[in-house]
Subunit: 278 residues, 4 copies
């Protein structure tokens, strides 16, 4: 008995649910959970089907291909643990939460390595016996630094790269190695306060709520598809530093909940947005 | 082109999604939205299928009957406005919100009448040209009062009866006329503070959050299937009266959101719980 | 026995709480609630003191003047109902909530009049016996329209002007008549989605949370001091219209809670921010 | 320059704020933050005054004694780190969060030791170089086990004892050693689901929100003064195990926020309730 996720993404047409679930039934696969969404503007159909049973994968995919419209993007994904590499700078809270949750089993991930452009967090990775690679950006061009990062990153063959308060902007060249597979936490409620020092911006604007946003990284800074957001209330008594301190809890929580959704194969990228299937 | 909701509730078995959506496809009905849930403990399958097209209802139901297990509870429901009667005592906020939302189109209901055991809210119903019936409980036994209520209620043939801070306990005899069709708002986060004066109970216990619960009414006071709950923070500076005042907003909001879910046919009763399909 | 609020706003120096509360004690005024805040960046002291007793106002203010630094901005405000005029366009939900809450006593305001640039909401104001003035902007310059608005507004001598989804930008000339006394509800979580059609902007960006912001109006559109914000979760299944519909509840709730804070004299403007005393 | 917190708790009478802040001013102490509360039912006055300056403590206390009513409970507390000992059973998430937050400076505590009635969490304490003491309850009476716990606990002289999912009921005898100094996390929104297996109780009742409660421990199980509560939404698709898993995040967050409030001297016990000063 195996468990796999069938992700369908194709042009919309009548009868798709019946056809796809019909093929699954023919293969004697049990549907644990089925969720679909039609993007009416793009006339596009998305479905996530959690299947259990004995898989004859080549035949299953061939049978599905028969009933799906051409140019569909169908994928059959193994349910199970994913391998991630975490990129960090100096702040410990997001990395700490990921390490701790992986440790006690709240996240279905193996943290294969941590890479930092400072050495600050090496002792934290050590505590959990995770290799830490120090890749300083000093004296390097952006491209050279990214090459050095990739050199460390590539051998781990990560399913996902997690930016856990990695305070460097990545170029499209770097991002193209992991399309829709790099997850960033931005310390504001995007699209408010894009860019540097969002808590100071929030403090200067006098907002009454602050937030955090986890998103896939694409070519434009802070503009990739949003996966998860959350907020906490603040008031006039908070300095910018108080906001930053209070924000850490929501940052770490949003990042690890976003990662959980991604590794559970609940998130589909649809243009510059995500679909998040419950 | 019509829109209807097919609600399936039957013993679980393999292939149900494929079979049911297959029948719908054969009938050239378009599935707008499909949501299912399996109660593994009860081995029971639930599905809500929002359909659009031309319905040949007798044939559709017959075809579905062919593919469903015996003793299924299948219903085909017209999407569209529902008729409700609201029972009240003296507090205006819940009734006011329902009337206002029905007025500006935020709730797909026709409020056919308001019945009060006091006359306090007659002027409010009048503002919205909704008939108000005063049915005092004074000098009557509980059974006599309920008979008097039913006499006013029955002719309106309501789809749902809404208890909008109706401060009387209803007997099983009354409830049996509207099984899973009476919606109550309880001014606490059930099952905390069952019974009388929950805000005073909350104040005495020193809780830091208060809430409200909308539920279907069954034979036991405050113990019917919960539809919706929400909470708001409070602190030590709140008196029991402050809590009651602050709680009004969450009461009215929970009640009207619960009613919206119910009239949109998103709520299914499953034993003493509800399934709420998104 | 009267109740008044002493609002102190002055340069910070040592001993201010002792000096001010000392004067109040000398006057045999009981302090019901006292809240202070020091803006360390501006070196400015703010205090809100809720007083009860017999007021000898001229003497009290003279005695306070003695102990406060020069150029202080001290005000003694009567606790009690405030008079407001509401400006609207076509959407009913915010006006409806204000009228309903004023009606059942959840807001300490008298709604003296409603002014609309369309006639749509006249019947709603009528239900609550509130005068409605139709001041169309058609065929008028912005200045002419604002003159016409002021002509209706001024005679009511409102303490506050509430923009309850009034879809017109006000000029600094208009705003200068009611400095820090015009309250607007913006249908986004500011500063995200400033300007027109924020729900469409939110939908296009694919956010997972939407919000509303109540703020005082100053010379720059959507940039005045924020009083209150709140948010609700959304997901990929929401169209821009669904977001707008879901947002109505949070808009009306944020506006009426902001107005409650303002009329309870809990809000102080400090530059482009507000202090909100609990 | 030192920072201390003056906590006043006495019978209410006129002029207390003026008198107390007057003494502070005479001592040339700067008030960083002042918060008061009057419990009108008990006629009791509470004030938290955060002071900065040079303290002549004996004289300050003597001068305050002069102006306060008899039988007052006044305390002058050093701001600064507190020493805690954490009691655990097998679940890692609460202990993990406390260790991590102490590690990166988000909690002003020194975790002096961890004591477990199972050995499960010894490796986790080890990672952070915190001594772990295994005190099994097997083969011991409740009193014997508590004696064994005290033997390990007492030498650390903890300011606070934190029960981070310690699944044993403590007797009044044990509790009396640390009055209002033992903090427990209960995995429900108290007073709902007191006692064993609250997530199963919540699942059986079909609630739509689950929560967690941090409270001081007194003589009655789950009935001590509540410090902090928070909730998360759930739906019909959650099993009792899913609720338990989802609840871990809110448990750890509520416990560490409650502990932060306590160690920042923001929490005062008032009968069976707490005052939490912002």
């Amino acid at each position: 008995m195996q468990r796999k996720i069938l992700m369908t993404d194709c042009a919309d047409e009548h009868g798709l649910i019946a056809k796809i679930t019909g093929v699954c039934f023919k293969h004697q696969l049990n549907i644990i959970k089925n969720s679909e969404f039609v993007d009416n503007q793009q006339q596009r159909f998305f479905m996530r089907t959690e299947l259990e049973g004995e898989f004859h994968e080549a035949q299953l995919l061939a049978d599905l291909e028969q009933v799906l419209p051409p140019k569909n993007q169908m994928r059959l994904i193994d349910a199970g643990r994913k391998r991630v590499v975490v990129l960090v700078t100096k702040e410990a809270h997001c990395l700490g939460d990921l390490l701790m949750k992986a440790y006690y089993g709240a996240l279905e991930v193996d943290i294969a390595a941590v890479i930092g452009n400072y050495q600050t967090l090496a002792p934290l990775a050590d505590k959990f016996d995770v290799p830490f690679h120090f890749v300083s950006h000093e004296g390097l061009t952006r491209e050279e630094h990214e090459q050095a990062l990739l050199q460390q990153l590539t051998p781990y063959q990560p399913d996902y790269v997690v930016l856990a308060k990695f305070m460097r902007v990545l170029t499209p060249g770097f991002v193209s190695h992991y399309p829709s597979r790099i997850i960033n936490i931005h310390h504001s409620f995007l699209p408010a306060f894009i860019g540097a020092n969002p808590y100071r911006q929030a403090w200067e604007r006098g907002v009454k709520i602050i937030g955090a946003t986890a998103h896939f990284v694409n070519d434009s800074l802070d503009e990739g598809p949003i996966i998860k957001q959350d907020v906490i209330p603040v008031d006039h008594s908070y300095s910018a530093e108080d906001m930053a301190k209070a924000g850490r809890d929501v940052e770490k929580s949003v990042l690890s909940r976003a990662l959980a959704l991604v590794v559970n194969n609940q998130v589909v990228v649809n243009g510059n947005k995500t679909l998040v299937f419950k």
